[in-house]
Symmetry: C2
Subunit: 196 residues, 2 copies
DNA sequence: TGTTGTCATGAACGGGTGTTCAGATATCCT
DNA sequence: AGGATATCTGAACACCCGTTCATGACAACA
């Protein structure tokens, strides 16, 4: 196995994943065929299997990559310690990150049922780790008397659902800029958790 | 066409729709075959086409039935005029109605992309009518100085996304009763729109 | 009792599915 | 130049898809 072919192989694999991501997001995992993906990359079907174990693992890889990149990006934000400032940072980060990656978000939320039980559990665990970051902020804020939440877990799910919903209607060329949307949601999220 | 056969036919059609609803919700529209649906009802495939034009119209009928029932149920609530009381009523209604119909909700939100353009537009129009009910409450409340929302449309989308999210985690046998969940969300929604 | 109309069967249609694999091809190292 | 290795092609495998239709069963009315 030579270095050059390794590189070329890695690039082909990336192009396959990129094509699959776009097609899965547009038509849904079940509706996309391996032949379609191969055609998009300019290959015959059989060649896909030099880079991917099977169709399902292609989906799993896309989901896992997304969730791990999401967690890494959140950590890279280095949000402030103060709960209210951390909440604002989280809201802005979540909206910005998700709005910039509609395909990944769509797949990660909609195609979970096409995963086998073990793959499902793995992705769910990553999602739970992400949710726990917000839950920690809300719990600390509540303890410090800065927030007023009856149930930190429920508040977490409510805020994340609210924020993720932005991806269903936001369009960059729309009436509001992303900055404006962020600002509106920061205000709503802060008020929802009773930030003073 | 005799009365008896009419009745039997209507019942068979209803059983087909019920089976399709359950299977679509569990496995996704694209992953469910007409043969599976027929098997669930105890028929051969061909017999389905005595009751349904084709697979897509089966999906459309399920979605349209759901959205129209949702609108009718909201109207039947006869919510108060006062914006804050109306909002509380809306929140409780939305959570209760959606939590009771997880399959319909799942399909109506996830399978939109399997609709042709004209069917899609029809379902979207129904959804918009539902959203407009809430938007009207928020706009009136803001005008009256009871709510504080920067953008009634965005606030509507945020509140609905927050509420609908409940269906992704709520379980009747879980830690919280539906009543408790409703109460938590009423409080969060009211605070989010700045209800005084 | 015979006629009419509804509904189900079972088979067929043309085509698409994910996956495998022998053989051809291209690339790199010696 | 020659051998090794990674990658691609093209065909095949066994199976499933949505939809149609001739045939037949059965129930209701005249």
């Amino acid at each position: 196995m030579t270095r050059q072919t390794r590189i070329r192989s890695a690039e082909t694999g990336a192009r396959i994943r990129a094509a699959a991501l776009r097609l899965f997001a547009r038509d849904g995992y079940a509706a996309v065929s391996m032949r379609q993906i191969a055609g998009e990359v300019g290959l015959q079907v059989g060649a896909l299997y030099n880079h991917v174990a099977d169709k399902q693992s292609l989906l799993v890889v896309l989901m896992r990559e997304h969730m791990e990149a999401l967690l890494a990006a959140l950590d890279a934000e280095a949000l402030p310690e103060a709960p209210d400032a951390a909440l604002e940072g989280f809201v802005r980060f979540h909206i910005r990150y998700h709005a910039a990656r509609p395909d990944e978000v769509f797949i990660a939320y909609m195609e979970l049922r096409n995963l086998g039980p073990e793959n499902f559990a793995g992705i769910e665990a990553l999602r739970r780790r992400y949710e726990d970051r917000l839950e920690g902020m809300l719990a600390r804020g509540a303890e410090a008397g800065i927030f007023s939440v009856r149930d930190a877990r429920v508040a977490t799910m409510a805020v994340i659902a609210m924020l993720t919903g932005v991806t269903t209607w936001f369009r960059p060329e729309g009436r509001l800029s992303l900055d404006e949307v962020e600002a509106i949601y920061v205000e709503m999220a802060r008020k929802a958790v009773g930030a003073r």
